[in-house]
């Protein structure tokens, strides 16, 4: 059975164990144990009912773990060897599991790690590799997260907002190892959308699909960035984009607008343009204005200034930029772009150099350095 197909079952199995009264932390360990056993057991013969198989094996593992734990603590707790009836998890159980893993008392990095393991069924090693952290460190992070959740009690879990923030972080973090985190975030958001009746969850899923659809053209094979305007649009994944647009339209029709739907609408307008010249910048600015109603952050205002520059010309973009806090990351990069567009080449060249110095990542630093070099070279030849 394919790894992802096996992992699809994880939240169901775990929620059944938790519903039967198993302590969350131990149940999660037991499910991991069952997944590992499934790897070898299913190689020879795949069970007719994989979910039932996993539930049975995980429950036995849970009993064993509880017994050894009980022996250590010298306590007398007894569990029946045979699991109680009821192996069909409900949508509510799955949703509850998402909420637990995004518990508001967890730090963002702990919630991310716990969600990937307890809902996503990834191993600690895979999560550690994905986030470039040593495995023992990740093991500790997950173990602490589980005890925080166990202590905080399952009665006051997070809500769908905190879950969406966690999934967005997984998607947007950008690291990539053996595990494709963006694809994993999409898988988990799809699963969430199937059980949570919320327009914003669908908006988030649409946002992810629309960005994922452009992924192949976002970077060159050497890892360098290709700006949106220069991307080979024939290389975009039209199926993902079409799916994202359908999901977004259905979400928008519910008339419960939120920040993820607004962000997805902006991504959809970019995806709609088969050539960059056809981009509907006026509508994009309108969506940024909508987005500001939900998330009035300097980053949104900065991106809006770029859109204004395209819709109404560089001077209007620079005027919009003047109202943005100039400490925000990528401010210099946007200023450089708008000044170049406005014909202030010396200013732009200087700002590109600043943008390179302040870039938050290597790929952007290299990109801004190339921009500065390109303009400086041009200015030397055309004094």
């Amino acid at each position: 059975m394919h790894d992802v197909a096996r992992r699809e079952l994880v939240p169901h199995v775990l929620s059944v164990l938790v519903r039967r009264g198993a302590d969350f932390a131990t149940a999660e360990d037991a499910v991991q144990e069952a997944l590992v056993r499934a790897l070898s057991a299913w190689e020879t013969e795949r069970p007719a009912d994989p979910t039932g198989w996993l539930i049975t094996v995980a429950w036995r593992a849970f009993i064993d773990m509880t017994r050894s734990e009980t022996a250590r603590r010298d306590r007398q707790v007894r569990y029946d060897n045979e699991p109680p009836a009821g192996t069909i998890p409900s949508a509510d159980d799955t949703l509850h599991l998402y909420f637990l893993c995004a518990h508001p008392t967890l730090t963002p990095s702990s919630a991310v790690a716990l969600t990937l393991r307890a809902v996503g069924g990834l191993t600690t090693r895979q999560i550690a590799q994905a986030y470039l952290v040593p495995e023992p460190t990740m093991a500790q992070r997950i173990s602490r997260a589980k005890s925080v959740v166990s202590r905080a009690g399952v009665d006051r879990p997070g809500d769908v907002r905190t879950v969406m923030r966690v999934l967005y972080l997984v998607f947007n973090e950008g690291y990539s190892g053996d595990v494709d985190l963006a694809a994993e975030a999409i898988r988990l958001t799809r699963q969430l959308a199937a059980v949570a009746d919320d327009a914003e969850v669908h908006g988030l899923l649409a946002l992810m699909l629309l960005h994922h659809g452009r992924r192949r053209s976002r970077t060159r094979p050497d890892g360098s960035i290709v700006p949106l305007a220069e991307q080979d649009r024939s290389n975009w994944d039209r199926d993902l984009i079409a799916e994202g647009i359908v999901i977004l339209q259905a979400a928008l029709a519910r008339d419960r607008l939120g920040e993820y739907q607004a962000q997805a609408a902006i991504a959809a307008l970019h995806a709609d343009a088969s050539r960059v010249e056809e981009t509907d910048w006026v509508q994009i600015v309108e969506w940024y204005d909508e987005l500001l109603q939900f998330a009035d952050t300097p980053i949104v205002r900065l991106n809006r200034a770029v859109a204004v520059g395209e819709a109404d010309g560089a001077p209007a973009g620079l005027a919009a930029l003047a109202e943005v806090d100039d400490h925000v990351v990528r401010h210099d990069a946007v200023a450089a772009y708008l000044h170049e567009k406005n014909g202030d080449l010396e200013v732009a060249a200087r700002l590109y150099a600043c943008a390179a110095r302040n870039a938050p990542n290597l790929a952007e630093r290299d990109h801004q350095t190339r921009q500065a070099a390109r303009l400086n070279h041009y200015l030397q030849r055309h004094p």
Binding site: S109, Y131, T137, A139, R215, Q263, A267, N361
Partner: protein, 135 residues
Amino acid sequence: MAKYLLLKHYRGAPAAVNNIPMDQWTPEEVEAHIGYMNDFAARLERNGEFIDGQALSPDGVWVRSAGDGRPPVTDGPFAETKDLIAGWMVIDVDSYERAIELAGELSAAPGAGGTPIHEWLELRPFLTEPPTVTD
């Protein structure tokens, strides 16, 4: 979700508050200092915030290529004026504020007289991967 480098200097950093060099401490003070550093790293591991920690020898040389087919040129030992790194710790934390907090704790390691050194540590953010959502 953000990695930081904590750099400790043999020299080149501004003077610490408790600035008596380690070779003039009592053995107990040295032990207390080492114990503090080990406890600090162990605590970070338990928190799931520890990535790496290493100490460096003060000995070192400059190295550069000498051109095709020739062995590299070395120059050393370092001049007394060179900024000299003593070691580092790499942490993975949720916020800049947390990184500052941890650097502050590390700087408070005990020195001469058992009182905190309050040495200056250099805190440097890692350059990350680019985010997925950019527009």
